[in-house]
Subunit: 374 residues, 4 copies
C-alpha cells in the first residue's frame, strides 16, 4: 500500500475492503513520506518494521527482491501521487489498484493506459459506488431493455462538509482536496463529480458527449471549485443533468441517480443502497438484495441473506474482490470471468479525467456546449 | 366560473378548493363553449339553468345586471383563453382568480397587469403549491436567516404522463397542453416549469436573473417541449438548477425543492407535503403541521391537529381562502392583513411568462446565458 | 349539526368533509348547549340566526316543521351526547350521521340499532379512516385472495398528545376525552382503539373473537386509560396485536396496519395515506391513487390525478359523500349501489362498543382470554 | 472456529466480522462433523490441512499443544452444539465467542456461566444488533434521561422466509431452526425473539419481569413456533409488546424498536440502521453516524465519515472487535475499558434462555402473566 498512514481516511477503507473477503492480505506498505510515521502506521497494522518503507520507490525495489513479495500495489495517496507509484509499480511487474480520480491530469491518465497496455498487468480503479449490488441490478434493467430507450439521466452528488473554510483549520482531508497542486484541476468536480459521471455511464452504458457547466467556488479564498451544475448530452440523444457540491450544507454523501427510459425508470440512492426503485406509469416496485429474482451480477455481489444491510465497505470490497480474482487468475494463467472483470479500469479513469477537464473548461467558457475532451 | 365543464380536471379542483372553507359559493358558470355541455355541466353542479351561460361574455353581461350577481370570476380554461375573460371581467368590475400560467404570452400578462392596476380590482393566480403550510415554513426559515446566505437551489418537477403520444388518443388534458395554439410557447416549461420557478422564488425571495436551458421534445410529432433542464442564476449570486419533464416515466407530480444556504438547508417534496426537512452539518430535524413551533404563516394555513394529513386540495383552498378574504375586505372597505394577501398575483404571473419565454429562447440559443426577459 | 361550536375540532372536520363535494349543505345547527355560543358559532358559518338553535331538541322540532327543513342530522358531540340526539332525530324522521364511537355504552348502541331498524332510516358512523382509497385497495387485495389465507394482523394507533396532564390546563379536547362521564368506559381504547379495531375488521373482513389486554393509565390522576396493548384472536384462526396510546410522546396520529397472509402482505400508514405497500417473499410493489390498475372501489374514492396528495379531509368526505348519496337515493326511492353503501353503520358502531367493553374487562381480568362481548 | 463449513450462513458472517478490523485471524477450524467437508471448507479459506480438524475435541486438543495455537474459539454451530465445545474450550483455557442463543436450554446457560466464572476466561455472545452505532446512541439517550421515565417499549422482529414448509425442501438453514432437537424449545422465539428481547433490554437498561404470550405455529407439520405475540412488563412499571414472526410473508429482517418515555421517544429500524429517530411532541430530529454530536459510545463504533453507510457486518464486527480487544488486554494483563467491554456476555445469554423458556411456558398457559424464569 502506498499512502494511508495515520490520519488518512481512504487508506483504512481500502484495507477493510481488502480484508473482508480474505482473498488479499496487506503485508507491506509505504504509508507516509515521513519514515517515522510510515513505520508507526505499519506497526498499528501489525506489520513487521522491515516491510514498512519510507517511500514507494523503496517499497517497490525491496519487495521485488523478496520471494514472498507483494503481488499488488494499492495506491491511496492524493491525486498528484497516483501516477508516479503506479508507473513504477507496473514497470516493475506489480499489478496496481488505485484510488480515483486516476491521475492528476488527463495526459497522465493517457500515459498510464499506455504503460498498462505495454506491461499487460492489471489495473483497477476504485470507483467503489459501482460495486453495490443494486447498481448492478439497475445496469441490468437498462441493458435488458426493461426501461426502453434511455431519455433522461439525473445524477447528483451533494455534500456539505466544505461549507466553511475547514481547509484552514488543519483538517487534512480538506487541505489536499482544495489544493490544486495536489488535487489537480477539479475540486468538487474531481472528487465527487467523477463518481457521479462514472455511475451514470456504468448504469446506462451511454457515454457523455458534451457538457454545459456552471462551476462555482462559494467559499472565499478557496482555490478550487466547490459546486458544479452541469447539463449533459449523451451519445444516443439522451439528455441529463449532473450536479455535485461540497457546500450543500447538511448533505452527507448524497450520490443519487434517476434514469428515465421510454418504458420506465429506475432510482437509486447511495444512502439507502439496498433498495432499487423501478417504476413506470403503471406502478412501482423495489428490488432488494437476496429478495426474489435479481440478475446474476447483482447476486454475485451480495454476501448476506435478505434483510442484512450491506453498505459502503461491502461495495468497496466487491471492487477489491473482483480485482484480486482477476489478478489471481491472471497470475495462474486462468481466464477471469465476466464477474471477475467487473471493476473500473484505466478506461474509466480516462473518462473521469476527460470529465474533469471538460467540465472545468466549460465552466470558464461562454460557449454553450463543450465537447468531451479526447 | 369560466371553463371547467365535464371532462375538465382543474375546474373541479377550483370548485372543491373554493367550497372547502365555505367562504365562497359557486352560483354561475360558463363551463363550456358548447351551450348544451355548459348547461349539463351546470346541472351536475346543481346550478339553475339560467345561470349556466354559453359564453363568458354572456355570463359577465348577465351577472352584472343581477342584484345578487357574482363578485368573483374564476377562470379555469386553457391558457389562450385566460386573457379575454380576465380582461372583460375586470373591465366590468369583477374580481378575478385565474389558473396559471397567467396568459398565453408575456405581452398579454403585461397588458393584464395594466388593466388590473387601472381597475383596482383583485387578481389571484393559482400557483397552488405555495399554499402548503410547510412551504410557508420553508420561506420563513429562509427569511429569518436560519439558513444563512442562500447559495444553491435545486428545484424539479418531473412527470411521466406524456411519455407516449397520448394527445393523439383523444385525451383532452394532453391535447391542449401539447398544442401551441392553446398552451402558448411552452409545453412542460409552461405547464409545470412555471410552478417550479414560482416555488423557488416564493421560498427564497430571490429572483432568477438569467438561465441556460436545454429544452427537448422526446415524443415524435409533439409540437411543444416535454422536457427541460435549466441552469439558473439568481440575483444575490445564488446558483441553481431547475428541471421539469413530462416524459419521466413513472414520476407522478414530483415537485421537489432543496435550498442550500451557508448555515443550513431545507428540502420539501410535494408528494409528502406535510414534512419539511431542515438540516445542516450538525443534524436534521423535521417540521410537521401542528407540531411544535411553527411560524405564524404556517400556522395560519393549517386546518387540522397534528397527524391529520392535508393535501393538494387544502393547499389550493388556502389560495382561494386568502384571495376571497382579500376580496371581501376590499368590498367591505377593510384592509386585508398579510395572511389574506398571501396569494400569487399578476406579478407572479408576469414572472412565469418571463420564465417561459426566456427558457424557450435559451433553448434555441447558442449563447450560454440568456437574461430574464422584461 | 349537533355540537361543533367554537373551540370544537371534529365539528369543523365534518363541515369541511360535507362541503367538499357539494352534495350536502349545512343549513341549521345546535352547535352548543350555550345559546349565545350556539348563535355565534352559527354566525361564523354564515347561517341565519333563526336556524341556530339552543338545543338539539329545539332544532329537531323546528326543522321538522319547515318545508325546507334538514334531511340529515350530523352529531359531533362528545360520546355521552350521541345517543339522545340520534334517537330523537331518527324518531322524528331524520337520517343521522354520527361521530364515533357510536354511543356511551354498548347497551345504548344495541338500542340505537333497534331504533334504526324500526325507522328504516339511514345511519352513518364516521370511522373515517376506512374512507381512504388505499384502504379500499388493501381490502380488495385481501378479498380477492391476493394475500392468501390471513394469518397475522398488526394494527396500532399511537398518539402522544396526552403525555402530560393537559386535561387540567383547560384544553377542551383533552378534558372530555379523559372524563368517564362524557367519554364512557374507554379512554385511548375508546377514542382511537376503536379506529384500529374498525380498520382491521374492515380490511380483512374478519371479526375479532377474543382479546387479552394490558390496559394502563400512565399519567397520574387520569381517570381513564391512556394506553393499551392487546392480543387478538380472529375468527378464522388469524392472530393479531393491537396497541393504542395517548402517551407515546411525539407520535402524531400513527394509525398503521400490517396484514400478513400465507401468500403476501400489505402495509398501510395513515400519515402517508396515498401509498399502499404490497409485498411478499419475492418483492414489493406499491399502489398509489390514480396510478395503474386499482380496484373499482379505490378508483371510486379518488378525486384527483396521480401525484396530487389527498388527505384526511378527503377520506372523511368519502364517508360523507357515500352516506349522502345513500340518503338521497333512499329519499328518491332509488337503490343505492355498493359504493354508495360503503360507509360505516351501526353494526360497526356495535363492534366498536363491544371492543371497548371487552378490552376494558380484559384489562381488569386475570383470565388470559376474554371473549368478545355480545 | 467450530462449525461454519460449506453451506452455512452465520459462519461466514463471523469470519467477515472478525476479518474486518484485522485484529483477529482465523487459523484453525472444525468446520464440520464430516472430516472431508471440514478439510474442504478449510481449504476454501486457505487454511493448512493440518489445522482443519474433524471435531471440536480434536481441534481443542491439538491447538492446545501448539506454541502458536489459537487464543479464541468461535462457535457458530446450531444451538444444541454450543454448550459442549464452549465448555471444553473454556476448560482448556481458550476464550470463547459464541452465536446466540447461548445454549440449548436455560440449565445449560446457567452451567456455562458457572464454568466461565470458574475459569476467569472471556465469553462473548453475538447478539450483533447491539453493535450498531445508532443503537448505542439510543441507549445513551435513555440513560442520559433525554426521554424521561420510560413508559412503553414496542419491539418487533418479523421475517417471512418460513411462510411455507421450506424445511422439507433440503434448505439447511430452515431444517435445524425448525427442529426441536437442534434448536431447543423455541422456534421464532429462540431464533429472533431473543434478539428483540436483548435489544429492548440493552437500549432501555430495563429488565422484563413477566410476559403474556400468544405463541403459534402456522405452517402445518412444523414442530416449533413460527410466530409469537407477547405482552411485556418491565421492572420500572414500563409496559411493552414484542412480536416476532417467521411467517410474515415479505418481511425481510424487520427488527424495529420504539421506546416511549415521558419526555420523548426513539425509533430505530434495522433495515435502515444508520438513522435514529428522536422525537417528542415538539418535533423530530435524526441522528446519523459521524453527523454532529453523538455520544462517545456511538462514535467509538463508527468506522467511516458521514454518508458512508455501515451495515450488518460492521455491527457484527463491532462485537468481535470489542471482544478481541478485551481478550488481548486480558492476556496482556491490561484492563479493558468500557468500550472494549461493550459486548454481550453469558448474562445476556441467560436472559435470552429465560426469555425463550418463559415465553413458551406462557404460550401454553391459561394464566395471564408468567413471571420471568430464574
Amino acid at each position: 500500500m502506498v499512502g494511508g498512514g495515520r490520519g488518512a481516511f481512504i487508506g483504512a477503507v481500502h484495507r477493510m475492503a481488502a480484508a473482508l473477503d480474505g482473498e488479499i492480505e496487506l503485508v507491506a506498505g509505504a504509508f507516509s513520506q515521513d519514515p517515522d510515521k510510515a513505520r508507526a502506521s505499519g506497526a498499528d497494522l501489525m506489520l513487521p518494521p522491515e516491510r514498512c518503507y519510507g517511500s514507494f520507490q523503496e517499497m517497490i525495489e525491496q519487495e521485488k527482491k523478496r520471494a514472498d513479495g507483494i503481488d499488488i500495489v494499492s495506491i491511496v495517496t492524493p491525486n498528484y501521487m497516483h501516477f508516479p507509484p503506479a508507473k513504477m509499480a507496473l514497470e516493475n511487474g506489480f499489478h496496481v489498484i488505485c484510488d480515483k480520480p486516476a491521475t492528476f491530469s488527463l495526459d497522465e491518465a493517457v500515459e498510464l493506459k499506455r504503460i498498462i497496455e505495454k506491461t499487460g498487468l492489471c489495473f483497477g480503479l476504485t470507483h467503489n459506488y459501482t460495486g453495490y449490488p443494486m447498481v448492478k441490478q439497475a445496469r441490468f434493467l437498462v441493458q435488458s431493455g426493461a426501461l426502453g430507450k434511455i431519455r433522461k439521466i439525473v445524477v447528483e452528488y451533494p455534500q456539505g462538509w466544505l461549507s466553511e473554510n475547514v481547509e484552514l483549520t488543519g483538517y487534512k482531508q480538506a487541505e489536499w482536496r482544495t489544493d490544486p497542486k495536489r488535487s489537480g484541476m477539479g475540486g468538487a468536480v474531481g472528487d465527487i463529480g467523477t463518481h457521479a459521471e462514472n455511475l451514470a455511464e456504468y448504469i446506462t452504458g451511454l457515454k457523455i458527449t458534451e457538457v454545459c457547466a456552471d462551476v462555482s467556488t462559494f467559499v472565499d479564498g478557496r482555490l478550487l471549485d466547490d459546486d458544479a451544475n452541469v447539463l449533459l448530452h449523451f451519445e444516443n440523444g439522451a439528455k441529463g443533468l449532473l450536479h455535485c457540491s461540497q457546500i450543500a450544507n447538511g448533505e452527507e454523501n448524497g450520490l443519487n441517480i434517476r434514469v428515465h427510459g421510454q418504458k420506465g425508470s429506475v432510482r437509486w440512492q447511495q444512502l439507502e443502497p439496498n433498495t432499487l426503485h423501478h417504476y413506470d406509469n403503471d406502478g412501482a416496485r423495489t428490488y432488494r438484495p437476496s429478495v426474489g429474482n435479481l440478475c446474476d451480477s447483482a447476486k454475485a455481489h451480495i454476501r448476506l441473506p435478505a434483510g442484512h444491510p450491506e453498505g459502503y465497505l461491502e461495495a468497496f470490497a466487491n471492487i477489491y474482490r473482483n480485482f484480486s480474482r482477476t489478478v489471481r487468475k491472471t497470475i495462474n494463467g486462468e481466464t477471469p470471468n465476466a464477474f471477475d472483470l467487473d471493476f473500473p479500469t484505466i478506461d474509466d479513469g480516462i473518462r473521469g479525467m476527460q470529465f474533469i477537464e471538460t467540465v472545468i473548461e466549460s465552466g470558464r467558457s461562454n460557449a454553450k456546449w463543450v465537447k468531451f475532451k479526447n
